[in-house]
């Protein structure tokens, strides 16, 4: 499907590299069109486990490495409004829930997005993803329905298709292949093993591996089936 034009796109994820696999083609497309995109990344992925053996980083040197990778990914996507929000990896769900909603409300008020992209609550597997998604949905729910931006959500829990059906938004991002590859390679400390696996599958002629560079899939958030009644 054709990617709809937007006024401003706000992307909210908790980890450097969350944008790379599912959204970097879409972000790159908007940037190429001249659409402003803000990426708010809540943590610096301080708890990443892929440190190699022998390790290339320590627990204390990793945040600076991942910060540089995030900045390189933004550059690969042509993104010039990267916000690093200063939370710590794997602690997002323990933050004060109201303060999390306020963080999202402030981002939305400031950027006035026509489209927000985050994870889908209850279908995003990692506790940080879930906490981020909850805060974004709650912030938008508080807006008058007429003023709400569109909300596209990434879902990848094993029960996603059983419960939500197939994604209703499918972006063909083949024209952004190089930019997306750049974003994925920028996060090499976390993506190396996945890229190796992908190269192997491509070499074996498996078309499935093309998917990362063919389509990006989202669910329009279902406000009539909200994940909670109120907050």
């Amino acid at each position: 499907m054709t990617i709809q034009s937007e006024r401003h796109v706000l992307v909210v994820f908790p980890h450097p590299d969350d944008e790379a696999f599912g959204v970097s083609g879409t972000i790159s497309h908007f940037r190429q069109e001249g659409t402003p995109v803000t990426y708010a990344c809540l943590t610096l992925g301080e708890m990443g486990r892929n440190l190699g053996n022998p390790p290339f980083a320590t627990r204390e040197s990793l945040p600076e490495i991942r910060k540089k990778e995030l900045q390189a990914s933004a550059k690969a996507m042509g993104l010039d409004d990267l916000r690093m929000m200063g939370l710590r990896d794997k602690t997002v769900e323990f933050e004060d829930d109201e303060e999390m909603v306020q963080m999202m409300t402030t981002l939305i008020d400031e950027t006035n997005p026509s489209l927000v992209i985050t994870f889908y609550p209850n279908y995003a597997v990692h506790p940080d993803h879930e906490a981020t998604a909850r805060a974004v949905v709650r912030a938008i729910r508080r807006m008058d329905a007429a003023d709400r931006p569109k909300l596209y959500a990434v879902a990848f829990a094993n029960n996603t298709v059983d419960n939500l059906g197939e994604p209703d938004v499918i972006h063909d991002i083949q024209h952004m292949r190089d930019a997306k590859m750049g974003a994925m390679r920028a996060h090499i400390s976390q993506t190396a093993w996945m890229l190796e696996e992908m190269d192997k599958r491509l070499a074996e002629g498996e078309p499935e591996a093309e998917n990362w560079f063919t389509y990006e899939r989202f669910y329009t958030y279902k406000w009539n089936q909200d994940f909670e009644e109120s907050f």
Binding site: M47, R49, N50, L51, G52, N53, P54, P55, T58, R59, E60, P63, R88, K90, V125, H126, P127, D128, A157, N158, W193
Partner: protein, 116 residues
């Protein structure tokens, strides 16, 4: 980081005995463990910038090693330590990396708080 040399690591550990130090201790099997395999029980623990004073420290076992810190009223220990580094800020960083290079456990000791 380098592979644990027991004598060297023991010397570093002992150098912090009987003074107030900050510790970082974590163990994890990764947030996605039960997503990829539903038979895996996801568990982990994380402590950062808790201050302790230990009177005795020991590194024991063949690699992966166990490191134990004995306090007046308790214990801290970590199992699975493979690598260590005395970093340029005088902090003793210990970690256990599995065969695929994933961090499984970390124990760190510092005279000043670790960054938030």
């Amino acid at each position: 980081m380098e592979l644990v040399d027991v004598t060297t690591l023991q010397t570093h550990l002992s150098s912090f005995e009987n003074e107030a130090v900050y510790i970082h201790l974590e163990t994890t099997n990764g947030a996605y463990a039960s997503h990829f395999n539903e038979n895996v029980f996801n568990s982990g623990a994380f402590v950062r910038n808790v201050q302790i004073t230990y009177e005795l420290a020991k590194v024991v076992g063949e690699s992966p090693h166990r490191v134990g810190l004995k306090m007046t009223h308790g214990w801290v220990y970590a199992q699975g330590i493979t690598h260590f580094e005395m970093d340029n800020e005088g902090r003793l960083l210990m970690a256990g990396h599995d065969q695929s290079g994933k961090l499984a456990v970390a124990l760190q000791i510092s005279r000043t708080p670790f960054s938030y």
